[in-house]
């Protein structure tokens, strides 16, 4: 280890944030967290809130476990991780119930299920337990944002074509497709509201990403 202090936002550290947004995206490349990506993306607002919630949990679980990494007895390592992640998820759930009740009703069980989101345990195991707190926090931000980004893209298309609206926090549902279109015979695509279409949208994103970056294609 070098004694020279690395600047907080060195190129190496910034990479921790940027690679999960693209080349190692948790959803499209690592194929983690698909379940909730299908479930909460019928509208934009729950997708945004879910993205923020997961980012909060990845950041703080990475930070706490990175701080504790040298004290955790290896035999109960996974249990310690679970307890801390579970506690963070309960706090997020409680806060949502208190401050964003409507959205928390839409997200229903999926907030609680953040515990089982593979991204979180995956990042703790793969990164936080072997790295210092600051890089771990950046890694948490990167992976949470990478997850949230895909959720928001999927939700954007699903709500636009499924309901003709876009629901943003604090602004409510905004009608994007004008009433005139409906009068002319345009119909919302009811199928895109259902989870299978979310999978297809995720598939299209993966396709686009891999055709732009051929390094990602497995031989």
């Amino acid at each position: 280890m070098s004694d020279i202090k690395e600047p907080l936002f060195s190129a190496n550290n910034l990479k921790l944030i940027t690679t999960p947004l693209g080349a190692s995206n948790p959803i499209t490349i690592q194929v983690l967290g698909i379940c909730s990506a299908l479930a909460v993306t019928a509208k934009l607002e729950p997708a945004i809130v879910m993205g923020i919630s997961v980012t909060m949990v990845t950041v703080f679980s990475n930070l706490i476990l990175s701080l504790l990494r040298n004290t955790i007895p290896s035999r109960i390592r996974i249990i310690v991780q679970l307890v801390i992640v579970a506690a963070l998820v309960i706090i997020v759930d409680q806060v949502l119930k208190a401050f964003a009740y409507e959205v928390s009703k839409q997200l229903s069980v999926f907030v609680g299920l953040i515990i089982t989101n593979c991204i979180i345990m995956g990042r703790i195991e793969a990164f936080a337990l072997g790295n210092k707190p600051w890089p771990s926090v950046l890694d948490g931000i990167g992976n949470g944002a990478g997850y949230g980004m895909i959720l928001i893209i999927v939700a954007f298309f699903r709500e636009l074509f499924g309901s003709g609206t876009l629901t943003l926090p604090a602004l409510g549902a905004i009608r994007v497709i004008p009433e005139k279109f409906y009068a002319m015979g345009y119909v919302n695509n009811g199928f895109i509201i259902l989870p299978p279409m979310a999978l297809i949208v995720v598939g299209i994103i993966i396709w686009v990403q891999r055709s732009r970056n051929t390094n990602l294609i497995e031989s």
């Binding site: 019928a42 007895p73 109960i76 119930k97 208190a98 229903s108 259902l194």
Partner: protein
């Protein structure tokens, strides 16, 4: 201390669990008041919706105290008013009791035009989980004035359609007693078969079990008010 030893492991686990438990208890306690208020407001929005008054989180409490206020009470199966706070009745617990023992909450809403509407909360089972709603009756205590339904986890596009105006609107004008004063409730028929029937509404194609659930829920819950409404 040996970090891999039993003593350290036990100590570590115990301290961690106690700290986490204390933290969670603190968070839960400090947010409880806000959460309960949210649940209350959501209930008020639903109650107002059943008498066709649109409200949101910002004005529901005001509108509720304006139109309903303290005019809510509990009736028993014999049709008598009993002491108690109607707003605090937990319907899911009441429905587990024998129908004769239930406390049935009833809300009276005074509309700006001077008429009274009677709001009856209902709760039952859908296909995947609980369904619930509020049915409001006109001054004659027979004709439906409005209805609103909600669900926990019905299938989107099928059973979940009970949440939509398309399903709820036809309830208006239906009657729960027949011409001889017998309790008939409201039947949810196959889609398209309720035309001309004053005691039936159209169900949802593909949402048969949820539709039947609504029918059973209405029958079960409304029957408790039969004696009161006939008086």
């Amino acid at each position: 201390m040996d970090k891999q030893g039993n003593k350290y492991t036990f100590l570590y686990a115990s301290v961690m669990v106690i700290l986490v438990a204390a933290l969670l208890a603190f968070v839960s306690e400090s947010l409880k008041e806000r959460q309960n208020k949210n649940v209350e407001v959501a209930k008020k929005i639903d109650l107002l919706k059943s008498v066709n008054i649109a409200s949101d989180a910002t004005n529901a409490a005001d509108l509720y105290s304006k139109y309903i206020g303290d005019d809510a009470f509990i009736v028993n199966a014999q049709g008598e008013k009993v002491e108690g706070d109607a707003f605090k009745v937990d319907l899911s617990k009441e429905l587990k009791k024998d129908p004769a023992q239930r406390s049935n909450p009833l809300y009276v809403c005074k509309l700006p035009d001077g008429t009274n509407k009677y709001i009856i909360p209902v709760r039952g089972k859908g296909l995947w989980g609980p369904i619930w709603g509020y049915l409001s009756l006109d001054e004659d205590k027979n004709t439906v004035y409005g209805a609103t339904f909600g669900h926990k986890s019905e299938t989107p596009g099928l059973g979940a359609e009970i949440e939509t105006v398309l399903f709820q609107q036809p309830f208006t004008g239906k009657q729960i007693f027949d011409a001889d004063g017998r309790f008939t409730s409201i039947t949810v028929t196959k889609a398209g078969q309720s035309a001309g029937n004053v005691h039936a509404v159209d169900g949802i194609s593909g949402g048969t079990i949820t539709s039947k659930g609504v029918q059973a829920m209405l029958k079960d819950c409304l029957s408790g008010y039969e004696k009161y409404l006939k008086n």
